[in-house]
C-alpha cells in the first residue's frame, strides 16, 4: 500500500486547528488555550519534517496537545486536588466571561490527567482506546481517569 504524502503544514494546521483548540480551551481553560495552542503547534512544526505516518497526524497533534495541557497544569503548580476539598474556594484561572458557570469551577478542580481524559472522552467523543493512545497509558487507566473525573464533576454539580 502506498502511503499518502504528508500534507503541507498549512493544510495540516487548517485541518486540525479547531479540534486542538476545542480540546485545549476545556483542558487548560479559555484564557490559556491560545498559549497552549502555540506551544503545541510550534512543537509539531519543529518535528514535522521527520514525521513518518501522515495518516495519523490528527492523533499525533492531539497527543502533543495532551502533554502540553498536563505540563501546563504542572507548571502552574496545580497538583491533584483532594476529592473532599470544598469547591467554593477561589478558582485559580478565573475567566471573566465564564466566571459564573459552576461547571467551569468543577472542571478546574479536576486533577490534570482526569481533566484531559474527560475532555478527550466527552468533549471530543474519543474512544477509551484512543484516549489511552493520546495520553500514553493503558485503556484501563484511561477508563479510570474518565470515571474518577466524571464522578467528581457529578458530585460538584449536584
Amino acid at each position: 500500500m502506498v502511503r499518502p504524502p504528508k500534507p503541507a503544514f498549512q493544510e495540516f494546521l487548517e485541518a486540525n486547528r479547531a479540534t486542538v483548540y476545542r480540546f485545549l480551551s476545556v483542558a487548560v481553560g479559555p484564557q490559556e488555550a491560545d498559549d497552549a495552542f502555540q506551544e503545541t503547534f510550534l512543537a509539531a512544526l519543529r518535528s514535522y519534517p521527520r514525521v513518518r505516518e501522515p495518516d495519523k497526524l490528527d492523533r499525533w497533534i492531539l497527543s502533543i496537545a495532551s502533554r502540553k495541557a498536563i505540563d501546563h497544569h504542572r507548571r502552574s503548580g496545580r497538583g491533584p486536588v483532594p476529592t473532599d476539598d470544598p469547591p467554593d474556594r477561589p478558582v485559580l484561572d478565573p475567566s471573566p466571561s465564564d466566571h459564573d458557570d459552576p461547571l467551569w469551577a468543577a472542571v478546574r478542580s479536576l486533577p490534570p490527567r482526569q481533566r484531559v481524559a474527560v475532555v478527550h472522552r466527552h468533549v471530543l467523543d474519543r474512544s477509551y482506546e484512543e484516549v489511552a493512545e493520546l495520553m500514553g497509558g493503558s485503556e484501563q487507566t484511561a477508563r479510570a481517569n474518565v470515571y474518577q473525573g466524571m464522578k467528581r464533576l457529578r458530585e460538584l454539580m449536584t
Binding site: L13, A18, V20, R22, F37, Q38, L45, L103, R154
Partner: protein, 202 residues
C-alpha cells in the same frame, strides 16, 4: 450533570473564530523562530490573484489563481519542505516588487530566486530567458541557440511551460518564430496583458 454538558464549555462558533486567530499568530511565531521553510501569501494583480511562495533562499514559485493551487502547495511540500505556512512577512519584498512592476514603476526584478523547482535543463532555459529584458521579445529558437541547443526549440517550449516563477522569470517574452504569441502556461490572455504592460504589444 450529563457528559454532553461539557461540550457547552467550548461552543463551536467560538472555537472556530479563536482557532483562526491562534493559527495566524502561530504563523508569526513560526516565522520569528525560523521554522518556516516555505512562506505563502497571495496578492491581487492585473493578471488575477497570484500565489507567491518564498523560501529563505528566495522566491521559489508564483502561481495564478486558476492553477490548481492545492497541487502547487502539495508540490512545494513534497519537493522543498513540508513546512509550508501562510505567512506574509517573508514575501513582502517579492510582493512589493511585483506591485511596482504592475504599476509601471519597475522594469527589472532584483529578487533572490530559489531555483530548486527547475530541472537542470529548465534551469538553463530559464536563465537564458531572464536575460531577455523588459520590452524585448525572443523566439523559442533564439533561446535554443543561446543555450547551444539550436535544434531544441520544442524542448525549450516545454521548459518554459514548466517555469515555476512566471512573470519574474519572463517566459511571457518568448514568442513563436513568426511573432505569434503561441502558448503560455498561465493562459494566452495573461501573456497578452503582460506584453501590453511592457509595451511589446499594442
Amino acid at each position: 450533570m450529563k457528559p454532553n454538558d461539557l461540550k457547552r464549555l467550548a461552543p463551536a462558533r467560538r472555537v472556530a473564530d479563536d482557532s483562526r486567530v491562534a493559527a495566524a499568530r502561530l504563523a508569526d511565531r513560526a516565522t520569528a523562530e525560523g521554522l518556516v521553510d516555505v512562506a505563502l501569501a497571495t496578492m491581487d494583480s492585473p493578471v488575477g490573484e497570484l500565489l507567491v511562495a518564498v523560501t529563505p533562499k528566495g522566491l521559489v514559485a508564483i502561481a495564478f489563481d486558476d492553477d490548481d493551487l492545492e497541487r502547487v502547495v502539495a508540490r512545494l511540500a513534497r519537493e522543498v519542505s513540508p513546512r509550508v505556512i501562510e505567512s506574509a512577512a517573508p514575501t513582502d519584498a517579492a510582493r512589493h516588487e511585483l506591485e511596482e512592476y504592475f504599476g509601471g514603476q519597475r522594469n527589472r526584478f532584483d529578487l533572490a530566486l530559489d531555483r530548486r523547482l527547475m530541472g537542470p535543463f529548465a534551469d538553463k532555459v530559464l536563465r537564458a530567458t531572464s536575460r531577455v529584458g523588459f520590452g524585448e521579445l525572443a523566439t523559442y529558437g533564439d533561446i535554443a541557440a543561446r543555450i547551444d541547443r539550436p535544434h531544441a526549440a520544442r524542448a525549450v517550449g516545454r521548459a518554459l511551460g514548466s517555469n515555476p516563477i512566471p512573470i519574474v522569470v519572463p517566459c511571457h517574452r518568448i514568442v513563436g518564430a513568426d511573432g505569434s504569441l503561441t502558448g503560455y502556461a498561465g493562459g494566452m490572455s495573461r501573456k497578452e496583458t503582460l506584453l501590453r504592460l511592457e509595451g511589446s504589444m499594442l
